[in-house]
């Protein structure tokens, strides 16, 4: 059994001087490699899962200090200002979220997104969707925190790369729910547009 990242035919790459097309040999993964990738996916999912517990609802207080740091050390011009006028709007103090008007609803969105990533990667359920969401969340962390004091610049870079890796490979199709879901969505995708779109995310 082999896994390919796309159901499409392999593209022809490279052209010789004579104008002949040479097709690159398709890459297939062995069962062991596929299961190894699935284990990697599960542990990355567990990484996200663990990070839910220091910013639990209803206050999400653990997140506050990080949002403040992001607003002060973001590498993207204007990103700090954006945070100050959204997450930190109306906050009377930089040490506690008490009194902030928008912090709790926005922090709830972040927390929920991280929960979705964790569930998606742990269970291999719409894994590529979870990995895309993880990429966005990691990029946001990279922009905000990479150059803040005490941070190793590769920490968030590695998070981004791990997430991108899981977007590229269908890691949920072994040891995950996508194993059951993928063939069904691909079959249904021949007749239903929604199923075809959903099949991109497994």
């Amino acid at each position: 059994m082999s896994i390919s990242s796309s159901a499409r035919k392999p593209k022809q790459v490279g052209t010789t001087a004579m104008g002949e097309h040479t097709a690159a040999a398709p890459i297939t993964l062995s069962e062991r490699s596929s299961n190894g990738l699935a284990l990697l996916r599960i542990f990355v999912g567990y990484l996200w899962f663990q990070q839910l517990f220091w910013k639990l609802p209803p206050t999400f207080a653990g997140l506050y200090a990080y949002v403040v740091r992001e607003s002060q050390h973001a590498i993207l011009p204007g990103y700090g200002t954006l945070l100050q006028h959204s997450f930190l709007a109306g906050c009377p103090s930089l040490s506690t979220p008490t009194g902030c008007t928008a912090f709790v609803p926005l922090a709830a969105c972040v927390w929920t997104a991280e929960l979705v990533v964790a569930i998606s990667l742990l269970f291999g359920l719409f894994t590529r969707f979870g990995a895309m969401l993880a990429t966005i969340l990691s990029l946001q962390l990279y922009v905000g925190l990479t150059y803040s004091p005490g941070e190793w610049i590769w920490t968030y870079g590695m998070l981004v790369l791990l997430a991108l890796f899981l977007v590229a490979v269908p890691a949920g199709r072994r040891l995950g729910v996508d194993y059951w879901l993928a063939p069904r969505l691909q079959e249904a995708g021949q007749y239903h547009r929604l199923a075809r779109i959903a099949s991109w995310f497994v």
């Binding site: 663990q50 639990l56 964790a118 569930i119 269970f123 194993y179 059951w180």
Partner: protein, 150 residues
């Protein structure tokens, strides 16, 4: 017999993944493993011994649940959907028995079903994951053996 053996091995492997999570935890590796002994009222004074005993008990419990999974299949070839659903159900049962009822009884909680959001979140998804892994490993093995046999 084939289903029982496959279930047993799938149970061992699924619980091994669960045990490995405890080696990437805060504090010291294996910090959460003594709580498995606590489900049965066992407490060991030596922390290292306690962690290893918890680890082996988890693997054994995983094997037992895997045997139950295998027994439920009655040596028939099952679909991936059925394997995942049966695994999921066993994962929920694992959570209900060990993480909820036994933990509450051993902690002398007011009710065997008392639960906080944090405790639910930290235990339920991982126990369900055990079940899903059990089902997934089982059905992958079944398909591999079927492919080899044909």
């Amino acid at each position: 017999m084939q289903a029982l053996r496959r279930g047993l091995l799938a149970g061992f492997l699924a619980s091994l993944v669960l045990a490995m999570f405890d080696f990437v935890t805060d504090g010291a590796p294996g910090n959460g493993l003594p709580s498995i002994l606590h489900w049965f009222g066992i407490a060991l004074a030596d922390p290292t011994l306690s962690r290893w005993a918890g680890f082996f008990l988890l693997i054994v419990l995983g094997g037992v649940v895997g045997l139950i999974f295998g027994a439920l299949q009655r040596d028939k070839l099952i679909t991936a959907g059925r394997a995942l659903l049966t695994g999921l159900a066993l994962g929920v049962l694992w959570w209900l028995i060990f993480e909820l009822v036994l933990t509450n009884i051993m902690n002398h909680a007011s009710s065997p079903f008392s639960l906080s959001f944090g405790r639910f979140l930290s235990s339920f998804p991982l126990d369900v994951l055990f079940g899903v892994l059990l089902g997934a490993i089982y059905v992958q093995w079944q398909e591999r053996h079927a492919a080899e046999a044909s």
